[in-house]
């Protein structure tokens, strides 16, 4: 997709900070140590060899993904969001053609504390996934949510609750009330943004 006009001018740039990436690099090295070590040094049983080999592949992919993140720049524009530095030369999601917005929360702890969010945007030209480790994540989510409200996108209940946890529901409500009315309100498994008042 071509970037044309002033609307694609960059308003803010966002990067994954080295602090967050260092944790992922550390995890990669621990994973590699725990898989390559037994494979190289111990004559493990065949079933375990297969399991360790599969784990090794997973950790290698994770490490490679962390490297890609290090080179990634996310740019917020009036017209949409641009990402540069991944495997593809450039990714663009235009707010106007954005079809889905999903905000998920993951935590490995039993009390579900100390987790992280993942924002996924689907547009006509592809999809984009960002973790909350990126600098200015809240700003990106706020902007995407605002345009989701304007476009009257249906958001899943999970996304709504996570937005509420981030304190972004007012922005969504305001945007929704400003947007055009008369859309089909209730989708079976999702809420329309204007239904949030009833919750």
């Amino acid at each position: 997709m071509m970037v044309e006009g002033e609307d694609w001018l960059v308003k803010s740039r966002h990067y994954y900070p080295m602090r967050a990436l260092a944790g992922d690099y550390f995890r990669t090295s621990i994973g590699l140590f725990l898989t390559v070590g037994p494979l190289m040094l111990l004559d493990v049983v065949d079933v375990l060899k297969v399991i360790l080999f599969l784990l090794l592949i997973v950790f290698l992919i994770f490490g490679f993904r962390t490297m890609i993140r290090q080179a990634t720049t996310v740019m917020l524009c009036d017209k949409g969001i641009r990402v540069r530095g991944g495997l593809a030369p450039q990714k663009l999601i235009s707010w106007r053609t954005m079809r889905h917005l999903k905000l998920k929360y993951f935590s490995t702890r039993r009390d579900r504390e100390a987790g992280w969010m993942q924002l996924r945007l689907d547009g006509e030209d592809g999809q984009l996934s960002l973790d909350s480790a990126i600098e200015g994540f809240e700003e990106i989510v706020a902007r995407a949510t605002e345009f989701a409200g304007v476009a009257g996108l249906s958001l899943e209940a999970t996304t709504m609750e996570n937005l509420e946890a981030m304190g972004l529901m007012p922005a969504l409500d305001n945007a929704a009330s400003d947007s055009a009315d008369n859309r089909s309100a209730y989708h079976s498994s999702t809420y329309d943004v204007r239904d949030t008042h009833s919750r």
Partner: protein, 340 residues
């Protein structure tokens, strides 16, 4: 999601290592070991010839080494008398009580334990799921009260008592032989269609006995969770907008109410196997439960240790799978008391 999988895997591996250390320490805690107990018995009987063999075994299996070294050899990260030959190499050790490698002792028992456990889990879900949904959607109806009553009876009835009652009625009504998971003539036979049918004929009793209490508990939890969801505003909105009640139920509230089912996968696998030990003794089932009890009693350390490690691995893998399923099904942040 991929990041979540990697994070979870990195927790899983050290957890297994820590469990292996704990298991080894626990089975070593009682004073002495299987062989020292044997020596005492033989000395009491005045036998000296067998003592040499026991000393040989003690050296062979490294029982004369320091505990840390014994652990390392058992896991397979330190060479034993014949090189690396621990759990990582697929060698489960030697059972002193049975005088056989642990792998040979466990043999068919592991498969039969899996069969009983897996069927019990399926039974629990198949029975509790529709009952739980019915009880929640027909709250305080006669059906709800009756099923709740049955559920409480299931929770309150001791498993071993139910086992004895079912054994009696299965024998009187269907002519099923008492105890075991197959007719006695198939015990030493290789697997065949007739043997499989005999196993299936006997299987329902342990499945019903072990599954009853779990089923009752699951019904109560599913009912409570689904009731919570059904009382939320979005369900009212959906109904008010004319959505079919079945669709309202299926699309979101039921999905959320499924969480305890999925979260239970991790706990269920080891619970069903270890919880089945007493029932297995009552029903004379050739499963691993009674074998573990006996191995712990007689300090047959490799048999007990390998089996406990198997249970631990099952728990860790089960928890991993259930966490993955939960993360996919419900990636929500929990709001408690107005804060995260």
């Amino acid at each position: 999601m991929f990041t979540y999988i990697v994070h979870r895997m990195l927790i899983m591996i050290p957890t297994l290592l820590a469990i292996s250390v704990l298991v080894f320490i626990i089975i070593q805690l009682p004073p002495g070991d299987y062989l020292s107990n044997q020596i005492q018995e033989l000395k009491a009987q005045g036998e000296t010839a067998a003592l040499e063999k026991i000393e040989f075994l003690r050296e062979q299996y490294g029982l004369d080494r320091p505990m840390v070294q014994q652990y390392a050899v058992w896991v397979g990260i330190w060479p034993g008398n014949n090189g690396f030959e621990g759990l990582l190499q697929g060698n489960l050790g030697y059972s002193f009580e049975y005088n056989l490698p642990v792998g040979d002792v466990v043999g068919d028992r592991l498969f039969l334990s899996f069969l009983v456990s897996f069927t019990t889990i399926i039974f629990t879900w198949i029975v509790s799921f529709p009952i739980g949904v019915y009880s929640a959607t027909h709250q305080y109806s006669i059906g709800d009260h009756s099923l709740t009553f049955l559920g409480f009876i299931g929770l309150a009835t001791p498993n071993f008592l139910l086992a004895l009652v079912l054994l009696y009625y299965a024998n009187v009504t269907f002519g099923t032989s008492i105890g075991g998971l197959m007719d006695p003539q198939y015990l030493e036979e290789p697997w065949s269609f007739a043997k499989l049918m005999s196993v299936l004929e006997h299987l329902w009793i342990p499945v019903v006995v072990i599954g009853t209490s779990g089923t009752a508990g699951m019904i109560r939890r599913l009912r409570a969770n689904l009731l919570d969801e059904l009382q939320k505003q979005y369900v009212t909105t959906g109904r008010a907008k004319g959505l079919h009640p079945f669709k309202v139920l299926m699309k979101y509230p039921l999905r959320m109410a499924l969480n305890p089912f999925i979260a239970d996968i991790g706990n269920m696998l080891p619970q069903v196997i270890s919880g089945a030990a007493i029932v297995s003794v009552v029903l004379s089932l050739p499963t691993t439960g009674p074998m573990l009890v006996e191995a712990l009693r007689s300090q047959d350390q490799y048999l007990a240790g390998s089996f406990l490690m198997f249970l631990a691995a099952l728990t860790v893998v089960g928890m991993f799978l259930s966490d993955l399923a939960l993360a996919m099904l419900d990636p929500r942040i929990r709001l408690t008391g107005g804060s995260r």
